[in-house]
Symmetry: C2
Subunit: 346 residues, 2 copies
């Protein structure tokens, strides 16, 4: 079965080899033979197509059908984010399964390049657009209106466009539940409102705690945001106390912050998770898994967001109207070593 890449075969070639008409070939290969074609010719056509390694010329097809089976993916910064690859990979993979090809254009967060991307994709006659963001955010100006568009990891203010985003409150609640299940009652959080996800996570977290008659001590980061350093300082404040006033568990809004908290605990001579449990969020590659102890955290569903967004778009292009404007995806827990029960003495 040698691969020959010489000159691609045409439908006419297939028809000739099969002793049939182009019409028959087209019908068979597109599954439109509604009893229009005999089983015998059908078989011959299939065999001929296989033999010639035939695949229809996408240009010709798009000329006729007005569809390119191309999807444009516009991202901000996502190409240089540690999570980004997974989202893109999920989107690309699902595109393949549905007969589409995904082309990615990274805007680097610059609006002018987003517009440029949209125009380029329009020139290319893409069938639809996916607009993906590195961090969860609300998006106001979506370029390239007029093309079917789905938002991934971002959402439109007015829900004008379908979007798929992580269910942050649910993840916060799951985080609370995890700590409650381990028996913790004296719980602190290090949080912040630098990005939109922070408050949402926190809301779900405190709500679930409240369900169990518990209220966390809240340390709110007001700095520029999310750094290891800030986590270190915040955790030092929370932990540098007599044992009975010290939280037995800290939920950190971010793995970076959690890394700082781990450092702070070590600096104070506290063992994690024996003296205090530390729970992160994000499952940031190369960080969470390599800390000592390895960080228990929650993984944002980046790959799944890419997949679902593409699936939504493919459905829409197939004429299926989306059941809901917004898809919420769970962030599964990643159990590692930084969370255990509270100290026996408490």
């Amino acid at each position: 079965m040698a691969q020959h890449f010489e000159k691609p075969a045409t439908a006419q070639d297939v028809a000739d080899l099969a002793g049939a008409s182009r019409t028959a070939v087209s019908f068979v290969l597109n599954g439109k033979e509604h009893g229009n074609v005999s089983a015998a010719t059908r078989a011959r056509i299939l065999a001929a197509a296989e033999e010639l390694n035939y695949s229809p010329h996408p240009g010709a097809r798009s000329l006729r059908t007005q569809r390119t089976h191309l999807i444009g993916v516009i991202t901000d910064q996502i190409a240089s984010s540690p999570f980004a690859g997974r989202l893109l990979d999920g989107a690309s993979q699902l595109a393949g399964e549905r007969g589409y090809l995904a082309a990615v254009f990274d805007s680097g967060g610059r609006v002018d390049r987003e517009l440029e991307a949209a125009q380029e994709f329009r020139r290319r006659r893409v069938d639809g657009l996916i607009y993906a963001s590195m961090g969860l955010r609300e998006v106001t100006e979506i370029p390239a209106v007029g093309l079917p568009t789905v938002l991934a990891n971002c959402f439109a203010s007015d829900d004008a466009l379908p979007s798929v985003i992580p269910d942050e409150p649910a993840a916060g609640a799951a985080a609370a539940q995890l700590l409650l299940d381990h028996g913790h009652r004296q719980i602190a959080t290090i949080t912040g409102d630098i990005v939109i996800a922070g408050p949402w996570r926190h809301e779900g977290f405190t709500a679930r705690l409240a369900d169990h008659g518990c209220a966390p001590e809240v340390f709110s980061l007001k700095q520029r945001g999310w750094t290891i350093d800030e986590g270190f300082r915040a955790a030092t404040t929370l932990l540098d106390r007599p044992e009975r006033h010290r939280p037995t568990a800290i939920f950190c809004v971010t793995d970076r912050v959690a890394a700082g908290a781990l450092l702070a605990a070590a600096r104070l001579g506290l063992s994690v998770p024996l003296d205090v449990s530390i729970l992160g969020f994000d499952d940031q590659e190369e960080l969470a898994a390599n800390l000592v102890p390895a960080l228990t955290t929650f993984a944002l569903p980046h790959r799944e967001m890419g997949q679902r967004a593409m699936a939504l778009l493919a459905d829409q292009l197939a004429g299926v109207t989306p059941s809901s404007a917004q898809v919420l995806l769970p962030s599964p827990a990643v159990h590692r070593e930084s969370v255990a029960g509270p100290p026996a003495t408490r």
Copy 2:
């Protein structure tokens, strides 16, 4: 200047509006008006095209010209590598500048998916292929032979395909020079042959040192590879000695190894860079910049590799024969805090 995305205009529309022929339109828009078209009609055509926001239908064009202006990029794992985004972004950006659109397919390192990708791209009638690897490596089986192909961050055994890779020996030499320039003479290296880049870097490093009558103490990693843990143990061996037998600088084959070395120094009560300088390699995102002290290292030219590979391919598609089969790119130093001069007492 409202954006109207209704029905794309055709060349005929432009011709009608300009009061000219389709031929003239085609000539003007493709720069083929070799004195075939009057300046007046030329101006009218340009104005009409602008007015209608005209862009030629790529399907129709590809049908006619047998070129899709599409480039397929096949990667292994690259979508989930921290460096990957930069390479892809560089390739994608340069593709845009040259009138191409890059579509990425991640094989996840699995050969069957590489073949699948090549076939999909062939079906799509891409004009050429870029084959990009996450880590520098020799590549044996390139699928989709028959299409113009350029290798990025990998190379073919027989140099059958043009490739663009980092100049590892030169980078090693630059690392040596950096330490020499700071006045170091008692130098150690932590290296290994787990990936092909290691020995190449090391070779350049020792050669440059030899030029200055210097020979490093070599600690060769024989373990599975590249981890922080291994770096820690290796550096402990090198540093846990009386001062006069201790190297004043260590060149680590990898940032991960350097991170371990930093830890080891801290554990031994040695200050970096006051007591010992640590030099890394890779400029691994989220790691090198966030270590304490921030790591001085070398940045692999991922973006540039993507750009150059795409440029090479575009040249080749334009009929320019590549000047050399292999392009070597430098890895610039990233000066941070972990390298200084040797202690004054030495």
